[in-house]
């Protein structure tokens, strides 16, 4: 029951499921939050963590070191693009004079 394989499989399952949970949370935020700015918060932060947990879970199941590193590389590329695009969208929105809402 407590051999290393099953422990890492359990851990992998827990990580993957919680990653999926944060993807759902990000989507809920996109629907529930009141304006562009707050929706960007929901998407960047929840998806960063969601994908991070998913990648960690899948990396535990990877056969080789290089495929585990490939998964981590995908996570890094996604967080760099999501951080940059969320800034670009927020900046353009502010430049167009769309003010953030102060209450939901």
């Amino acid at each position: 029951m407590t051999n290393p394989v099953s422990i890492s499989q359990w851990l992998s399952a827990v990580l993957t499921v919680s990653g999926t949970f944060f993807f759902i949370v990000g989507t809920l935020g996109l629907l529930r939050f009141p304006d562009i700015y707050s929706r960007l918060h929901a998407l960047t932060k929840a998806d960063n963590l969601g994908l991070g947990l998913l990648v960690a879970g899948l990396a535990l199941q990877a056969d080789t070191l290089s495929s585990a590193l490939k998964l981590i590389l995908i996570w890094l590329l996604v967080i760099v693009t999501s951080a940059t695009t969320s800034f670009l969208i927020a900046r353009t929105t502010l430049e167009q004079g769309i003010q953030p809402k102060d209450k939901p």
Binding site: F21, F22, V25, G26, L28, G29, R32, F33, P34, D35, Y37, S38, L40, H41, A42, T44, K45, A46, N48, L49, G50, G52, T64, S66, S67, L69, K70, L73, I79, V80, S82, A83, T84, S86, F87, A90, R91, T93, L94, P100, K101, D102, K103, P104
Partner: protein
């Protein structure tokens, strides 16, 4: 002065950026191909071409990294990502949607265009409840999910870590509030 022109030219080439790029692209190739021996016949030319293009297009802003700080920054970043995701989840899943939205000005000592500044802007976007909406010369305009949260202190802590990472001189000034009080 006494060196022959060819030796001087040879020494003027800085080899470090070239070697660092070759090493990085080789690691990348290994990750992408899983190290299949046959792939290196395509990989080696690709690595050399990529290194050449990277050198030609880099704007050559020199920076030094502190590797111990890098390790602690990675751990800090993962911990903050976890906090940020849980923070969003807490707000989204409550029926009354607890938000205190607003814009906050954050004064920064890092100058725009430097690698340290770019890292600061990108990292703030992934930190709990903060999003950069405007970059000014000495400050960032942040959109925050909760204006009551200690935004300034957290962003300051991040800036201090990034300054340490890039070995930049940095005064941990908490006197912004003092200045504000003097004016009011």
């Amino acid at each position: 002065m006494l060196k022959s022109p060819s030796t001087q030219q040879f020494l003027q080439i800085s080899w470090r950026p070239i070697l660092v790029r070759i090493l990085l692209f080789a690691c990348l190739w290994w990750i992408l191909t899983g190290g299949t021996p046959a792939s290196w016949s395509v990989g080696v030319p690709a690595i050399l071409i990529a290194s050449y293009i990277s050198l030609r297009f880099s704007r050559a802003i020199p920076f030094k990294l502190d590797y111990l700080s890098l390790l602690s920054f990675i751990l800090f970043f993962c911990w903050q990502s976890l906090r940020a995701g849980i923070d969003v989840a807490k707000r989204v899943l409550q029926p009354r949607l607890p938000l205190n939205l607003g814009l906050v000005e954050f004064p920064t000592q890092l100058s725009p265009g430097t690698p340290a500044h770019t890292l600061l802007v990108n990292a703030i976007n992934l930190l709990p409840g903060t999003l950069v909406t405007r970059i000014r010369r000495h400050s960032l305009t942040l959109h925050v999910l909760d204006t009551q949260a200690p935004i300034a202190a957290e962003a300051q802590a991040l800036e201090t870590r990034i300054a340490a990472l890039f070995r930049l001189p940095h005064t941990n000034s908490s006197n912004h509030e003092k200045i504000g009080n003097d004016i009011s």
